[in-house]
């Protein structure tokens, strides 16, 4: 029976979804009211995506009922088209519009009735919508000329124009900078005031508190509970997501002792440059954890890529453990005991169709050489060891890595490099797009590895994370190193000041 309390616009009751080997959703309830922003929270694999996919008709549900305001009886959602027709729209993390078409064309694509198109009226209508929502784009502009944030907002505008009652935003902010996030939030609040129900899925806790009215937490495919934002402090939210008591969470801020390392220099570069970065000097000691920080595009990723030989190296002198080394391609770096976890997991990290086992042993196997394949038993033993050690959640070793959740994929890539026992490990954004629990696990692991004598370079967009783990921060601006912070200087304020410059 439909539940109409507080004008629910969407009611889901007793939703179950079974996948081979796992129960992805077990008897989950979810209620979205008119004109609210409702954050759907949970760790990776908690069932957020599955719930969204059931709601949007990507997956069929095994049991349970869905009611949508304005539709008689139970909603029948068998395909994304059905969902759209009854007013449920989704805007995904990756933009799913066509970048080479104009904004107006994107607004109306796939919504044509009949063979004729009145572009004049469409452009006019688009301009109206964009203006009413304060979106800084023009109707005739090609979409690819807009920033990512604006593209996302166009996708939202498109959904709104299709009279959606339920708007799902799946990780909309993960590739936006702070200012763009604020713009997006403005749009979300505006839509909320017009009565749209918004489901907001994100990994950024601060953003949940900045914009949401209500929070629903899932854990292991089950409903943990639903709270108004004011009644659930941030620390408690984390505890609920991780299924732990508050007492366990005390060490959230202190992951462990920072590691300064010994005097022995493991890696040293003088005037190293590549096609993508300007010459820079850099060194790291045994057992040290340091980090490159700076705004997106400041050249921090390009610098570590130059160290690993991932881009074409154009100059500089490199010493590894006191000996001259030529590192101009990844293989050479690996042979010198350097590992590199790339920034873009999907594009550069995983080999999606290959199994978890093959992904774990890949780097070690390449180091052993083309003519020395490992035996199947050996591979399985290694894979088994690291699946256990890093608690990778996978149905089996033979599961294609592409079907794992983001955090577990990242752990597999991490396992791949740990298996090569590197002296120096570069981690570029190892915690991007993964849940709080796994983030903490990875930070702890980094400190543990450093204690065991490994040198680590840790890059993260979240400054708190770097402050927690790194004993030395190299600050970059416009592809130049502009400062190096250690000890007492390691504060958010000091980093900001150094990035902004002007103290000279």
């Amino acid at each position: 029976m439909p539940n109409m309390e507080n004008q629910a616009v969407l009611t889901m009751r007793g939703i179950c979804k079974q996948f081979p080997g796992t129960k992805a959703l077990n008897n989950v309830d979810f209620t979205l009211r008119k004109g609210e922003i409702h954050a759907l929270m949970g760790e990776n694999g908690a069932g957020k995506s599955t719930l969204i996919k059931v709601l949007t008709g990507v997956y069929g549900k095994d049991a349970g009922s869905i009611w949508v305001d304005g539709t008689e009886g139970e909603a029948r959602i068998h395909s994304p088209q059905d969902a759209q027709n009854i007013g449920i729209s989704t805007v995904y993390q990756e933009i799913t519009l066509c970048p080479n078409l104009s904004v107006a064309e994107n607004m109306f694509i796939g919504r044509t009735k009949g063979p004729f198109v009145n572009w004049w009226s469409r452009n006019k209508r688009t301009t109206e919508i964009l203006e009413s929502l304060n979106i800084p784009a023009r109707a005739r502009q090609e979409l690819s000329q807009c920033s990512l944030a604006v593209q996302q907002m166009v996708a939202i505008a498109r959904a709104v124009d299709m009279n959606c009652k339920v708007l799902i935003l799946d990780e909309p902010t993960s590739s936006l900078d702070e200012h763009e996030v604020e713009m997006l939030f403005g749009l979300m609040r505006d839509l909320r005031d017009r009565g749209v129900g918004i489901i907001f899925v994100t990994h950024f806790l601060e953003q949940v508190y900045a914009v949401s009215d209500r929070i629903t937490v899932l854990r292991n495919g089950e409903l943990v509970g639903e709270w108004p934002v004011a009644e659930l402090p941030q620390v408690e939210l984390v505890a609920r997501m991780m299924g732990k008591d508050l007492d366990d969470m005390v060490d959230l801020d202190a992951v462990g002792e920072k590691s300064v390392g010994s005097d022995e220099t493991v890696y040293e570069a003088v005037g190293l440059s590549s096609t993508e970065c300007k010459p820079f000097d850099f060194q790291i000691h045994k057992g040290e954890v340091n980090g490159f920080t700076g705004l997106l595009g400041s050249g921090r990723s390009e610098s570590v890529r130059a160290i690993f030989g991932a881009d074409r190296v154009t100059g500089g002198m490199v010493m590894v453990k006191g000996q001259h080394a030529v590192i101009n391609k990844p293989y050479r770096a690996m042979k010198k005991g350097i590992g590199y976890l790339p920034e873009d997991r999907k594009r550069d990290g995983i080999v999606a169709d290959l199994s978890v086992r093959e992904n774990i042993i890949l780097a070690l196997q390449v180091m052993k050489g083309f003519f020395h394949p490992m035996s199947r038993d050996e591979m399985e033993a290694f894979a088994d060891e690291y699946i256990k050690a890093l608690q990778i959640k996978t149905a089996s070793q033979e599961t294609p890595i592409g079907s794992l959740s983001g955090g577990n994929q990242q752990k597999v890539i991490l396992a791949r490099w740990l298996l090569t026992h590197p002296d120096y490990l570069i981690l570029d954004e190892p915690t991007r797009g993964i849940d709080v629990g796994t983030k903490l696990e990875i930070q702890r692991l980094v400190l543990k590895l450093a204690e065991e004598g490994m040198s680590v370079t840790f890059i993260s967009s979240e400054i708190e994370e770097m402050l927690r783990t790194c004993s030395r921060l190299i600050v970059m601006r416009d592809r130049n190193i502009v400062g190096e912070l250690t000890g007492d200087q390691l504060t958010q304020g000091q980093i900001m000041r150094t990035i902004a410059g002007g103290e000279q």
Binding site: P330, Y331, P342, R347, G349, E358, F370, P373, E398
Partner: protein, 370 residues
């Protein structure tokens, strides 16, 4: 046990296709009352006893295609595209094979007789080297210059046969030559005293070689990694250009061996028609073998079964006395059926149908209990 089940799962499509063709012939035999299709008999003449029959002929005639399909699978997996010049490169390899075998380089010889073993071995080696060089030409265009495989190989596809003709004409003064010699007969048909066609041994040899290479090297892992995600492969120390070139080298070897098998079994080498339109059959074999033509994961076994399926189809149509003019039409129909049956859409239907049947039987059982 589980492993076997998994690999069978991936080979379902080619196995079913081959099985259905054989079943069709079985039904045909029952209906017509004549078992000639499945008969295997021993024919004896002055050169000794030889096994004959449609099944033997299928395995024998498919040999060149099977070998070629293996090479094509590797290139497909690594480069995400196909080499359409293999037929033309085969003609070049065949030309060099014959030129090297020729005892005295007189001009104008329309029949090659009395060759010696050393020359034959030289011929095989040079043919392989020639095919590898021409395939490497394709490989460099694809791997280094990053040209789409279809376009890169279009060059040799269109001019390869002219190159083959040029070499053969310069050396022997002919564009086509008959091969009539006991040694060539032994290679192309049967070795005296052995009742099984030689080409079957060649296929087994090439297959074993491939198996050994996969066993002793990381070729499979490297090829799949490059085919699926080149950037990730590169960041793990794999050199994608080398892997792609290597796949073209292996294809070159396969092309040369296929060309030798084909020309010796036909007892004639015509640069214009040797292995004509073989490239399409080889690509088809890879596709029937349920390999992704866009690269990535691959199964050699699938392509091998695919090649035998194509030959079974041809032999079946021959046995039904379909005229060679309408042959291509019937072949096309069967291939459409195979490809549609193996498409993801139909596979999903079958899976959901299976689930429904399971559900209803379970429901029925629950009712019974109540």
């Amino acid at each position: 046990m589980k492993k076997i089940k998994n690999s069978l799962g991936a080979l379902t499509m080619p196995l079913v296709a081959l099985g259905v063709l054989l079943l069709f012939n079985l039904i045909r035999c029952i209906v017509t009352g004549s078992w000639s299709f499945y008969e295997i008999s021993i024919a004896t003449d002055e050169k000794g006893s030889v096994l004959t029959g449609n099944l033997i002929s299928i395995i024998d005639s498919a040999s060149a295609l099977v070998i070629l399909a293996m090479g094509m699978t590797l290139v497909t997996a690594a480069c995400g595209g196909q080499d359409i010049s293999v037929g033309a490169v085969g003609a070049i390899a065949g030309a060099f094979f014959v030129i090297m075998m020729h005892p005295q380089k007189e001009v104008q010889m329309s029949t090659l007789t009395s060759v010696a073993w050393p020359n034959v071995i030289l011929g095989v080696v040079v043919a392989i080297i020639a095919a590898v060089i021409f395939c490497l030409f394709n490989g460099v265009l694809v791997a280094y210059f990053k040209i789409q495989p279809m376009i890169a190989t279009l060059i040799l596809f269109s001019c390869g046969r002219s190159i083959a003709y040029y070499f053969l004409y310069q050396a022997l003064g002919v564009g086509s030559i008959k091969l009539d010699d006991p040694i060539i007969f032994a290679i192309g048909k049967t070795i005296p005293g052995v009742p099984i066609p030689t080409s079957i041994f060649v296929v087994i040899l090439v297959g074993l070689l491939m198996w050994l290479i996969f066993k002793r090297t990381n070729l499979r892992l490297y090829t799949q990694a490059v085919g699926i995600n080149q950037k990730a492969a590169q960041l793990n120390g794999i050199n994608p250009v080398m892997v792609k070139l290597l796949s073209f080298v292996m294809l070159g070897v396969c092309v040369a061996v296929a060309a030798i098998v084909k020309s010796t079994s036909l007892s004639t080498l015509t640069t214009k028609s040797l292995m004509d339109s073989f490239e399409m059959d080889a690509i088809l074999a890879v596709a029937i073998g349920a390999n992704n033509l866009g690269g990535g994961k691959f199964r050699l076994g699938g392509s091998i079964l695919g090649a035998y399926t194509i030959q079974t189809l041809t032999t079946t149509l021959n046995a039904m006395e379909v005229s060679s003019d309408s042959m291509k039409f019937y072949k096309a129909i069967v291939i459409i059926v195979i490809m549609v049956a193996g498409s993801p859409v139909v596979r999903n239907w079958i899976v959901s149908l299976g689930n429904k049947i399971k559900m209803t039987t379970r429901a029925a059982r629950v009712k019974e209990v109540e």
